[in-house]
């Protein structure tokens, strides 16, 4: 079986090619030691079995985020037979730069040019045969969305080979490369010269592998004599890409521009208004559609599930734990999954249409002021559905500091489970103003926390953006659904074991009566919050299973009409305390996976203390009950 990696810039059509070649047979798995999703799928082409590995999109081989780092790690370290480098014909030289970088590294490859029809429509003409000759690798046109020219791609896939283009640098760089090459053992799969170039370029991942003192010395000497080898190499390589692109492409007419797009991009106020409308629209569609699906599913499934739970709950501890697990999974899947899936659908729709890129640009002026990279809007939007995938999606941000900021914001962005408490407790008992107040306050707290943390961590430098704005394109629904479904599968895989673990722990505490016995310990914080001690049980144990908080509250209070036993102020306090925190053990698990145990626990304590402090402050304000 041949293993093939798909490499290309973001939005170049890697996933579409993967789907077109392999159908629905795509598996998702994390790259070892990380939470970055890698999609793999097999297909038999020309009578031979191939496994395709879809790598996260990269602009260049010098990682600015964890995702980009993984792509480079795969290129440098994974075992594969060749690469398919996807190039967007409408941004020809950008993709060419990536292809040239891989050719220099000695990666056998085939160049697949996507969006060539769109490029032709724009008057761009590319000499594919000339380009193929120049690079020394096959260059084929594809249209994976319409399955256009796939036969030619499949026919030529076996011709993938190492290119013959060699980039020559200035003498001083060449001398340094000659020294660095001694560190690369003979027989290395990739080009020794290509790896030596990356050593002189200061590529941290190649250094990690070869620890080349000679290269370090050569770089130090070059710098001492006023050179900047990194800049020299990058610029020379980019110059080659530009030169080749100019030689083999031309434009017949002035580029057609989207005037409306440019108008929207040029006015920050229109942009902010558009972003706000998109976010509100996203929430409205998710809440309304998700709510209807949930109601429908609940109506059909809940009587049977309740019967099963009731039967199991009276069959000893094992049965009780099983009942609690089913109850938790049912709550998770029925209450959260439809929201998450619809959110994923809409988010992929935004991504594929190019709107998400524009939101990143629109919000930049605002987010930069608080030290946050504007792409953090993606985890924040996801966080309105569920904090777990939102936490893992922070890997798209540059640097750990930015990831910490985005994860911190998530503690105050209510997920769907917290939303059900906000609407089901505060909304139902106090009216529509209460949820609005809690959301607004959460938003303000998130901004303040991010700004303060950004100053403490010195994260402002990482808030500088250089982003591609892909052209506005009509997304293909089949692709959108397929991407959203793959993400949902990943979500289920992460969440299910943690939901069951949380449910079993809670079952043990409840079955043994420890939950009730802990009331004494919970009395002091209850006094601070001016809540009855029993109300602390759902607050504390809700951390194990957030979706059961309302049911737990009803059980400990002995009624579902909370305003008969709690004052309005207490209802608001309870809802705030449930909302402003790292919501559950599953979200904490995701934080640990992303930030490491030490940093995750530190952040968890800080965020929960902030949430508790703000709630306690409100509880102790001399306001009418």
């Amino acid at each position: 079986m041949k293993r093939v990696i798909l490499v290309g810039q973001p939005n170049v059509g890697k996933s579409s090619l993967l789907n077109a070649l392999t159908g629905a047979n795509v598996r998702v798995a994390n790259y070892p030691g990380t939470t970055v999703d890698i999609y793999r799928a097999k297909a038999v082409l020309n009578g031979e079995e191939y496994e395709f590995i879809d790598t996260p999109g990269v602009y260049n081989l010098y990682p600015s985020s964890l995702e980009e780092e993984i792509t480079e790690r795969i290129i440098l370290g994974e075992s594969y037979d060749f690469a398919v480098v996807l190039v967007d014909a409408t941004a020809f030289e950008r993709g060419l730069l990536l292809a040239i970088t891989l050719i220099e590294l000695g990666v056998p490859l085939i160049v697949a040019v996507n969006f060539w029809e769109e490029a032709e429509h724009k008057g761009i003409r590319i000499d594919y045969a000339g380009l193929e000759k120049e690079l020394g690798v096959p260059v084929v046109r594809i249209n994976p969305v319409k399955r256009g020219r796939l036969e030619e791609f499949i026919k030529r896939i076996g011709e993938a080979r190492k290119g013959r283009l060699e980039i020559r640098y200035d003498d001083h760089i060449e001398a340094a490369i000659l020294r660095a090459i001694n560190c690369i053992p003979e027989g290395t799969r990739l080009s020794r010269r290509g790896l030596a170039v990356r050593l002189i370029e200061g590529d941290p991942l190649v250094y990690e592998k070869y620890h080349c003192r000679e290269a370090e010395e050569a770089i130090a000497e070059l710098k001492a004599s006023g050179h900047n080898p990194q800049l020299d190499i990058e610029t020379t390589r980019a110059g080659y890409a530009l030169q080749i692109a100019s030689k083999y492409s031309r434009i017949l007419v002035a580029p057609r521009r989207n005037r409306l797009d440019e108008l929207l991009l040029s006015n920050p106020y229109i942009g902010m208004a558009a972003s706000a409308s998109i976010v509100l629209g996203l929430i409205a569609v998710t809440v309304i559609t998700g709510g209807k699906i949930i109601d429908y599913l609940d109506l059909i499934l809940s009587p049977s599930v309740e019967r099963v739970i009731g039967f199991l709950a009276s069959s000893g501890f094992a049965g009780y734990a099983l009942a609690k697990s089913i109850e938790a999974l049912y709550a998770q899947y029925i209450a959260a999954l439809p929201y998450v899936f619809i959110f994923y659908l809409l988010l992929v729709l935004l991504e594929d249409s190019g709107l998400l890129g524009r939101m990143v640009a629109w919000l930049h002026g605002f987010t930069k002021k608080i030290g946050l990279y504007s792409k953090a809007i993606i985890p924040v939007l996801l966080g309105l559905g569920c904090s777990v995938p939102a936490t893992t999606s922070t890997r798209i941000l540059p640097g750990k500091k930015q990831r910490i900021l985005a994860i911190a914001a998530l503690a105050f962005v209510p997920c769907s489970s917290r939303a059900s408490i906000i609407f089901g407790v505060a909304g139902r008992e106090l009216g529509a103003w209460a949820p609005m107040l809690i959301y607004l306050l959460g938003f303000i707290i998130a901004l303040i926390v991010v700004k303060v943390l950004a100053s403490i961590l010195g994260a402002q430098e990482e808030a500088i953006i250089i982003e591609d704005l892909p052209p506005l394109r009509r997304p293909l629904l089949r692709n959108v659904a397929s991407k959203a479904w793959l993400r949902l599968e990943d979500f289920i895989k992460i969440v299910t074991p943690l939901v069951v673990a949380g449910a079993i722990i809670y079952a043990a505490l409840d079955y043994t009566g420890l939950a009730t016995k802990s009331l004494k310990i919970l009395a002091p914080p209850a006094r601070v919050l001016h809540l009855p001690p029993a109300a602390m049980i759902p607050l504390v144990y809700g951390f194990l299973q957030k979706d059961l908080v309302i049911a737990m509250l009803a059980a400990v209070l002995g009624t579902t009409s909370f305003s008969t036993v709690l004052t309005h102020k207490q209802i608001l306090i309870f809802t705030m305390a449930s909302t402003y925190q790292v919501p559950c053990i599953i979200a904490l698990g995701a934080m640990i996976r992303e930030l490491g145990l030490k940093d995750a626990i530190k952040l968890f304590i800080i965020l929960d203390l902030i949430g508790f402090g703000i709630t306690a402050l409100y509880a102790n304000l001399p306001l009418p009950p």
Binding site: N60, E93, P255
Partner: protein
């Protein structure tokens, strides 16, 4: 590996010696060079290194440029002149002449075109351009390679013709490349991109 650009005093002294010799018809005494440049130890060390690199010849106290040295000195001279003009006309006092000269020297830029542009007062920073302006990128003074790689990756690189689509306080959006692709560039980065306005 530190990402920040480093300009050593030794390297600058070497360039200063070459430039000084060129200004004095390729020949001078070390004593006179020290008088002009200053820093006796640095100059003597620089001369020794330049001699070992075959850029200058030394006979007792007299030093003169070799052919290779003359070629290098001319290049440096152009860059220094360019940098000084850039500082005066475009960059203000943000970076020193030496720093700019070194930064520019290592970029593959069209020096003649740049000088012509300077004479016509057409050199500017990307951040200074208004929407609708066309310009050609001639130099990028971004110190971090990861940012440079990203800029190149989104199509903004020396030699590339660009059009400014929009400009706000924090962001410049440019169109780069054949397909009118757009790239959003932080203003802090745009302030480090030197362009010739077309």
């Amino acid at each position: 590996m530190p990402e920040d650009e480093h300009f050593s005093a030794e390297a600058m002294a070497k360039e200063d010696v070459l430039r000084y010799l060129l200004e004095n018809k390729g020949r001078s005494t070390i004593k006179e060079a020290i008088k002009d440049i200053g820093e006796k130890d640095l100059v003597e060390k620089a001369v020794a290194e330049l001699e070992s690199e075959g850029l200058v010849r030394r006979k007792n106290d007299v030093i003169e440029l070799t052919n290779k040295g003359t070629e290098r000195a001319q290049r440096i001279y152009e860059h220094h002149r360019l940098a000084e003009t850039l500082l005066e006309k475009v960059l203000g006092k943000k970076i020193s002449v030496h720093e700019a000269a070194h930064a520019l020297e290592h970029l593959d830029i069209d020096i003649k075109g740049l000088i012509k542009g300077l004479e016509a007062k057409k050199v500017s920073l990307l951040s200074e351009l208004g929407p609708g302006s066309y310009a050609r990128v001639i130099a990028i003074l971004v110190p971090r390679p990861s940012m440079l790689a990203r800029l190149y990756g989104v199509g903004v690189l020396p030699g590339r013709r660009i059009r400014v689509v929009s400009k706000t306080k924090d962001l410049v959006i440019v169109e780069a490349g054949l397909g009118a692709h757009l790239a959003a560039i932080d203003s802090d980065i745009a302030r480090k991109i030197i362009v010739i306005v077309e």
